[in-house]
Symmetry: C2
Subunit: 196 residues, 2 copies
C-alpha cells in the first residue's frame, strides 16, 4: 500500500515551503498573476528545485491547496451529518457549514475563486459538493416521482446555484451572516424563486 518508504527531510521542507509560499502569494496578488519564479523567490528555493518536485504552478496547487481544501470540506460534512435534527433541516446540511468555512478563510477563497470568472476554478470543491448532493438525493429517492427529471440535472442545478451564490456573497464581503444566507439559499432551492 504505502508508496513512500522514507521521506527525506529536505524534500519535505522544500515541498512544504513551496506550498506555504503559494498561499502567501495567492493572498497577495491572486493566483493568476503568480509566476513560478515568484513562488521560488518567496520560498527562497531554486527554480530548478521547483521543477524537481512539481511540473507547474497548477501542479503545486493541486497537490497542496486542493487536497487541503478537500480534507477540510469532508470533515465539515462529517460533522453536519452527525448533527441531530429533522430530515428537512439536515438536507442540504453542508450548506451552512460551507458558508461558515468560507467566511473563516475569506481572503483565501476570494483570491482563489473571487473576482472574475473563477467559478470553475474551484473544480475540486465542485466535485465534492456534487458528491454530497448525489448522496442526499439517493437517500431520499424512496418517495420520489418516477424520474422524468434526471438526478444529475438536479445535482448540477443545486451545486451551480450554490457556488454562484457563495462566490457572490464572498465578493461582496460576506456581509449577511452565514445563517441568513444559508436560510435564503435553502428556501430558494426548495421552494423556487419568488418571481413566477
Amino acid at each position: 500500500m504505502g508508496t513512500e518508504k522514507t521521506i527525506d527531510r529536505r524534500v519535505a521542507r522544500t515541498r512544504s515551503t513551496l506550498h506555504h509560499a503559494l498561499i502567501t502569494l495567492i493572498l497577495r496578488k491572486g493566483y493568476e498573476a503568480i509566476t513560478v519564479e515568484d513562488i521560488c523567490n518567496e520560498a527562497n528555493i531554486g527554480r530548478s528545485t521547483f521543477y524537481a518536485h512539481f511540473t507547474s504552478k497548477d501542479d503545486l496547487k493541486r497537490s497542496g491547496l486542493d487536497d487541503h481544501l478537500r480534507a477540510m470540506l469532508v470533515e465539515r460534512q462529517r460533522h453536519a451529518l452527525a448533527a441531530p435534527g429533522e430530515l428537512k433541516d439536515r438536507s442540504l446540511g453542508f450548506v451552512l457549514g460551507m458558508f461558515e468555512h468560507a467566511r473563516e478563510h475569506i481572503d483565501l477563497y476570494r483570491a482563489l475563486a473571487g473576482g472574475r470568472g473563477g467559478t470553475i476554478v474551484l473544480g475540486s470543491i465542485r466535485e465534492i459538493l456534487c458528491d454530497l448532493v448525489r448522496a442526499e438525493l439517493a437517500a431520499n429517492k424512496d418517495r420520489k416521482l418516477p424520474d422524468v427529471v434526471p438526478n444529475e440535472l438536479i445535482v448540477q442545478f443545486v451545486v451551480g446555484a450554490f457556488l454562484s451564490v457563495l462566490i457572490w456573497w464572498l465578493d461582496g464581503g460576506a456581509k449577511l451572516p452565514p445563517q441568513q444566507v444559508d436560510q435564503i439559499f435553502r428556501r430558494l432551492a426548495t421552494e423556487g424563486v419568488p418571481s413566477a
Copy 2:
C-alpha cells in the same frame, strides 16, 4: 448617436477575418491553446495588424463572440416577453433560446465552456445572463414581498444554476431535447427541487 462615420473596407475585412479565424481555431484546438500568432496565420494577417485592432486574444473574443452572443440572447428574450401567454410561462424566456442556440453551435460551446478550462468565456456569458435576469426581476418587482431576500442573490442563484445545467447538458452530448431541459430547469427554478 452613431459613433462611426464610415467604415473603411480594409478594417472591416480585417476584423471580420480575424473573428472568423478565432472561431475556426477554437473549434480546432480550444480557446486556451490559441496564440495571437495562430490567429494571424489562420487569417493570413500580419501580427502587427492584429495589434492595430485588438489588444489581445481576449479583446478579440470580447468584441466578436461576446457581442454576438449578447445580441442573440437579448433578441430571444424580447421575443419571449412579447409572446402571448401567462407571465409564468414568459419569465426566464432566454433559457429556451439559449439551450437551442447552444445546441445549434454545440461544438463551439463545448470548446468554449465545456470540459475543463472555459473560465474566461463563461465569465462574459455569465454577465450577459445576469443582466437579463436582473431586468426580469426589476420588471416583476411590483407585487413582491419586501426584499428580505437581496435581488442580486436571486440573480446569482438562477444564473449559476442555469450555467451549471447548461454545461452538464452540453458535455453529455445534449441528448435531451432543448424544450425538455428548458421545461425542467424552469420548473426547478420556480418550484424548487423535489427533495425536501
